[in-house]
């Protein structure tokens, strides 16, 4: 991989670490999108679907603007580099990629301002999942984003697997995430 990552090698063991370098315009755009999502959540009396949809639209918009389509088609390996360089790093997301192949990438996010500074970590989790999913599906319409552990539940890292082609089980992931956080998302006071 090139510059957006630092390659860390130990014997035959290789991982790649993003190089966060905050860019104010992107941080501001994320903040605005997150606030819009929170506003819609309040208007809908706690419907997490509104957060998911807003975040996915934000992710698709970022993808259209910052990730130029490859004329010979995407693979995860080709896609991950501009995604990290133009979106992850400027948003200050520090993550370790433990696997990058043509079909799949696995990441562990260990620093994410949105999660660590938000008073609503559950909403931040749905938003982060949604915007990364929007980005991924812009390049891989048959793909899916799988979420493992999350900081909102007390874990030190957020685990994501980016898949170019979803299995039948993977196709339920969006609903699983939405339902998982729905009970934890505070309903606005009536």
């Amino acid at each position: 991989m090139g510059e957006p990552f630092k390659k860390i090698e130990s014997g035959e063991h290789i991982v790649w670490i993003t190089q966060p370098n905050e860019v104010e315009t992107l941080l501001k755009r994320r903040e605005i999108a997150f606030n819009v999502a929170k506003g819609k959540l309040a208007d809908s009396k706690g419907n997490a679907e509104t957060v998911m949809q807003t975040a996915e639209a934000f992710g698709r918009g970022l993808s259209a603007e910052y990730i130029k389509k490859k004329s010979d088609g995407w693979t995860i390996k080709k896609w991950i580099k501009p995604a990290v360089e133009n979106i992850f790093n400027p948003m200050g997301i520090a993550a370790t990629f433990t696997k990058i192949t043509e079909d799949e990438a696995k990441s562990l996010i260990f620093r994410c301002q949105l999660h660590e500074e938000s008073n609503e970590p559950q909403v931040a989790s749905v938003f982060t999942y949604g915007f990364l999913r929007g980005m991924l599906l812009s390049a891989f319409p048959n793909g899916e984003l799988i979420m493992g552990s999350t900081m909102a539940q007390g874990a030190p890292m957020i685990e994501f697997t980016f898949k170019a082609n979803a299995s039948d089980k993977d196709r339920f992931e969006r609903e699983r995430i939405k339902n998982f956080f729905t009970d934890d998302i505070k309903k606005p006071e009536e």
């Binding site: 991982v15 966060p20 260990f110 620093r111 500074e117």
Partner: protein, 193 residues
């Protein structure tokens, strides 16, 4: 609920580390925040002891932001093995930054150097956060070798160690092998606290 959990963890850690030279703590990922909070509160409550906290899991800056400001505490020094690898270059007099989580020999030297400065009669404690994260960045065989050496060095200098291991599905066989090198194992489960 969180406070009960943290108090329970503090009590268990305090008892275990007083009696044993080395304690391994196996915990589900979701209990990480509670455990680190408990460790930090325990450290603050023991200002007469000397502590070194090695973080490979989260950058020092984020640990301090999330779990309370220990940067002014005189009885703790941090070693951060992850910030520099992620290009995070903030400096702090209370923290030593190591360029990469793969520089295990340097990590071992820095740990021993910090404790060399500590008075002989002071109780010394080392926290390694965590063995499971070390395995993400390093060949497991190399981590095993490093941990054997570290345990030998710390025992020889009467330094108590607390090593964390975050459990995941299909836990690495090396992790199990490593954590059981400790004198005492604490398994964190909500129902046991």
């Amino acid at each position: 609920m969180a406070n009960t959990l943290i108090d329970g963890l503090k009590e268990r850690i305090s008892k275990a580390i007083t009696i044993n030279q080395s304690v391994g703590i196996i915990l589900p990922g979701n209990n990480y925040s509670d455990l680190v909070q408990a460790l930090f509160e325990h450290i603050i409550s023991r200002p007469e002891d000397a502590w070194v906290y090695v973080t490979i899991t989260k950058p020092y800056e984020n640990l301090i932001k999330q779990f309370g400001d220990l940067s002014d505490a005189r009885n703790i020094k941090f070693i951060d093995c992850i910030s520099r690898a992620a290009g995070i270059s903030k400096a702090d007099p209370n923290c030593i930054f190591i360029e990469s989580p793969t520089m295990l020999e340097k990590l071992g030297l820095e740990i021993i150097n910090i404790f060399k400065e500590v008075d002989e009669n002071t109780d010394k404690y080392l926290i390694l956060d965590s063995l499971s994260t070390l395995i993400i960045y390093n060949d497991p065989e190399i981590v095993t070798e490093f941990f054997y050496h570290l345990e030998n060095k710390t025992r020889a200098r009467n330094i108590h160690t607390i090593s964390l291991a975050i459990e995941e599905e299909g836990a690495d066989k090396y992790l199990n092998k490593l954590i059981y090198l400790n004198d005492k194992i604490l398994k964190v489960r909500d129902s046991f606290i």
